[in-house]
Symmetry: C2
Subunit: 113 residues, 2 copies
């Protein structure tokens, strides 16, 4: 599973962690229902999570299009906007879980956060 | 749900986010199975996640004892230790989900991360 954080928002560490956790829980729950084999494979291999950073929302939208074209599941995290950003702001894109060869062409160029 | 990060480890932002996400996924999954009503209540109220910081492992162990005494679910995150810390290092304690009045006596004194 890859979690891409929107760098331009300059969120605090705690806020970043909460957004990434929202994305991970939503995506894990969806995959467990929709693709049990994919979920089981990910779970037994240590529930791997990679946190990366993209600069802008448009960069993240391009990642989502690229993932969809490869049939990799995606989930957007939108913040309720009670603290650091306006309501509905997209803060994180969760993708996968997928094998490295599937997801590297999508997110392989992004830096670790 | 409250996620308590172990401050003394001085993890990077990406590492903190991954540990918090591990804790959130493990705890959410367990609660969905063991306490469906508690899970449903948390889910429909926005899956709230609060990320706090404790200084030391012994402080976190005391939090866990206090939570258990109040029948609040807890999960430890232990890192596989491939990058920043030795294998098996406890990096995060996930607690809840719970009502504020239940969990505030346990974690109310900790700073936001």
């Amino acid at each position: 599973m890859v979690l891409v954080v929107r760098g331009e928002l300059r969120l605090t560490t705690g806020k970043v962690a909460a957004q990434v956790a929202h994305g991970a829980v939503m995506l894990a729950r969806r995959i467990e229902r929709e693709s049990p084999a994919r979920f089981a494979d990910w779970w037994k291999n240590g529930q791997r999570k990679i946190v990366l950073e993209a600069s802008t929302l448009s960069e993240m939208e391009e990642l989502e299009r690229s993932a969809r074209a490869r049939r990799i599941p995606t989930v957007w995290v939108e913040d309720a906007g009670l603290t650091e950003v306006p309501p509905g702001t997209r803060t994180c894109l969760a993708l996968g879980p997928a094998q490295d060869f599937e997801i590297d062409p999508v997110t392989g160029g992004l830096p670790l956060l």
